[in-house]
């Protein structure tokens, strides 16, 4: 049963990219939508992100990247999550990610990609549905 338990989200920026306007706005919006949100700050390694996800016992991880390094970074995050038995955490992504990469990201377990112009309300809605279906 998950009633009353707030959805816990980790918003993370893997790699060297410092563009975090989007990540911070999503953090604010998800908090306003009633979720418990932890933001890692910029320049995190896949290991530290997976460690944080484990420690914080999150339901959802939002990865943000605008530097073009998403394919290699996100797949390493997924590996680290699997290694820690966190394969069922809902992972979503945002940033500058070309359409052609969406399918490959989905194949490694990234459930949804929210590109530029996405509404934060859609992100919140997606998370609620995905976590609800799981719980």
């Amino acid at each position: 049963m998950v009633e009353d338990k707030k959805i816990r989200v980790l918003v993370a920026k893997p790699g060297l990219d410092g563009h975090d306007r989007g990540a911070k706005v999503v953090v604010r919006a998800l908090r306003d939508a009633g979720m418990e949100v932890i933001y890692t700050g910029i320049r995190q390694t896949p290991q530290t992100i997976a460690d944080a996800a484990l420690q914080e016992d999150v339901d959802v991880i939002g990865l943000s990247s605008l530097s073009g390094a998403h394919m290699s970074l996100f797949s390493r995050v997924m590996e680290e999550l699997n290694r820690r038995g966190l394969g069922d955490v809902v992972v979503i992504a945002g940033g500058i990610i070309p359409d052609e990469d969406h399918e490959e990201l989905k194949s490694i377990g990234v459930r949804a990609v929210f590109g530029p112009g996405s509404s934060t309300q859609d992100v919140a809605k997606y998370i609620k549905t995905a976590v609800g279906a799981q719980g």
């Binding site: 306007r21 911070k24 910029i42 530097s67 073009g68 390094a69 290699s72 970074l73 500058i96 934060t120």
Partner: protein, 551 residues
């Protein structure tokens, strides 16, 4: 004679009855900085404005109308497209292409490892090498980057901050090896570390030693590179991170003042510092607000330098700036629309009197731009320069009741915010307490809410949308860059004189520890073919690292 004798009479007699019959589109109109805009502006809004004191003439204090007397009638702004990707080889080709297309200055984009002081073969660089800019690991890459581009014939802007002293040293050595006298090279390094902590994120060292590196480059440039702008104080990233125009002005001015103070403390004369300062602003969507912002910035800086710092040389009073159109306004939806956004923003920059301009390419919300979309972006500038007539007279919007009023309003609001930062203890303190970062995030979130609630229209995103299957061609950077750079590094390490490398690095450690200017020692390291990361690691060892952001 007009019927009404003043605005209040006109409002009552003419405007209100008309609005009653035909309601306005919105109850209230505001600029992007949430400054409320009236239906019309009249001389009443400029009452008491002393033209000579506040506006004046181009090339004269307070430079509201422009830094030079004839502005674009003499020389057009420098058309400078920010570019760089993959390895030095590919970027060199892109630069030569841009120069052939009529671009007049270069602007180097470095990849993130280069900006944060890692070589391409460091595990932390995985996936990042050559992505958002060119990968430069050693002097050899720098020489390749400018192959067949005589460095006394172009001006080069390098977007580099935490590692600026190292990249500047590489540029210096590359120029020497081309046989070009240092006094003849012109260009700029961004070198604005403060805004990295606030908005852009490529910091390495804690703020205090980072400021020491900045003033070391100041001293070095005033001595050896008289035509080099040793800093580009950047409002651009502050705005792109979500601030409004007022905050962009205020935070940039506060940071600039912090650099001047640091330069003075390092013993550099104010009139040696002033003329080599450069600025970097965004040009955003609101045409008139942006023009007013550029004009207000010039007036603010002139007063800062003359009145607060007692600079005597008029060259120290003049704010010169580079402009880039606003990347964050580009949409992934209907990307062709971005061409129009960029044109409007570029027009604002020209009407605002920019010294150089980068126009964003239509596909930048999707990936790095292709050659064709960069060409359209450059053509946009050429159209403005040669077809629009906007460059034919100086500061054409001066005297517009609205623009002069808005210039005053932005300036007044920016001073108020500036004073707040001074009260906190200046930029450094405001950064360390997270003040600026919080303010920016608040603004970014408010803007996002306005878009999602439909208060702010974004064409193609929340209105006038279509179902689209995007077919725009994007640039892909080959994953092979890391392997190529790694091989080059291995080869370099085999070939170079290992003893010379360690001697030069030891020399740098000594200078850094003693507190002397590190620039000459960094030049020695570069000449000995030490890599970027090796040089940076010496500085990390001495100065420590800023691992966490302040909020």
């Amino acid at each position: 004679m007009s019927e009404s004798k003043d605005r209040s009479e006109w409002t009552k007699k003419t405007l209100d009855p008309s609005v009653k019959r035909f309601p306005q589109r919105q109850e209230k109109f505001t600029t992007s900085s949430e400054i409320e805009v009236e239906a019309v502006y009249t001389p009443e809004d400029l009452e008491g404005l002393d033209y000579h004191e506040r506006v004046g003439y181009p090339g004269e204090f307070p430079y509201t109308r422009g830094p030079q007397p004839s502005m674009y009638r003499g020389r057009l702004w420098t058309m400078r497209q920010y570019a760089g990707y993959a390895g030095a080889e590919e970027s060199n080709l892109r630069y030569r292409y841009l120069l052939e297309q009529g671009q007049t200055g270069l602007s180097v984009a470095f990849d993130l490892p280069t900006q944060i002081g890692y070589d391409s073969d460091n595990p932390l660089s995985e996936g990042e090498a050559g992505r958002v800019g060119v990968a430069i690991d050693s002097i050899e890459d720098m020489e390749t980057l400018f192959r067949d581009i005589p460095l006394n014939r172009v001006s080069t802007s390098m977007t580099i901050n935490a590692t600026a002293p190292i990249l500047l040293a590489m540029y210096v050595v590359a120029a020497k090896r081309q046989g070009v006298p240092l006094a003849s090279i012109s260009g700029t390094i961004q070198n604005d570390v403060l805004k990295e902590y606030i908005a852009r994120g490529t910091y390495i060292f804690p703020p205090k030693p980072a400021m020491k590196l900045v003033t070391d480059t100041f001293a070095y440039c005033t001595q050896y590179l008289p035509k080099w702008n040793f800093i580009n104080v950047s409002g651009y990233h502050i705005r792109e991170a979500g601030s409004d125009a007022v905050q962009e002005l205020a935070f940039t001015m506060a940071n600039a003042v912090a650099y001047v103070r640091a330069g003075l403390e390092a013993g550099i004369d104010i009139d040696k510092l002033g003329p080599q300062f450069g600025f970097f602003f965004v040009s955003h969507n609101n045409l008139f607000e942006e023009v007013a912002k550029f004009r207000a910035a010039r007036r603010m800086w002139a007063h800062v330098m003359r009145d607060r710092f007692n600079a005597k040389d008029p060259k120290s009073w003049v704010l010169r700036f580079h402009t880039q159109t606003a990347g964050s306004t580009l949409t992934a939806q209907q990307p062709e629309n971005n061409v129009v956004r960029v044109a409007i923003q570029a027009l604002a920059a020209v009407l605002g009197g920019t010294q150089s301009l980068h126009t964003c390419a239509r596909d930048e919300a999707l990936a790095l731009p292709t050659e064709q979309s960069v060409q359209i972006a450059l053509r946009t500038q050429q159209l403005l320069a040669y077809e629009s007539g906007a460059a034919d007279t100086v500061d054409p919007l001066a005297g517009s009741y609205y623009v002069e009023w808005l210039t005053n309003e932005l300036e007044a609001r920016a001073w108020k915010e500036f004073d707040k930062i001074e009260k906190i203890g200046g930029s450094l303190a405001a950064i360390e307490t997270g003040y600026m970062q919080r303010e920016i995030t608040e603004s970014a979130y408010r803007y996002q809410r306005r878009v999602e609630e439909g208060e702010q229209t974004v064409v193609g995103v929340n209105r006038f949308t279509v179902d689209e299957k995007r077919s725009i061609q994007i640039l892909r950077v080959d994953d092979e860059v890391t392997a190529r750079q790694t091989a080059k590094l291995a080869d370099l390490r085999k070939r170079r004189d290992a003893a010379a490398v360690s001697t030069s690095l030891a020399g740098l450690k000594q200078t850094a520890t003693s507190g002397d200017n590190v620039m000459p020692s960094i030049v020695d390291c570069v000449e000995a073919s030490a890599t970027l990361e090796e040089i940076c690691n010496v500085l990390r060892e001495v100065y420590g690292e800023q691992l966490q952001s302040f909020i």
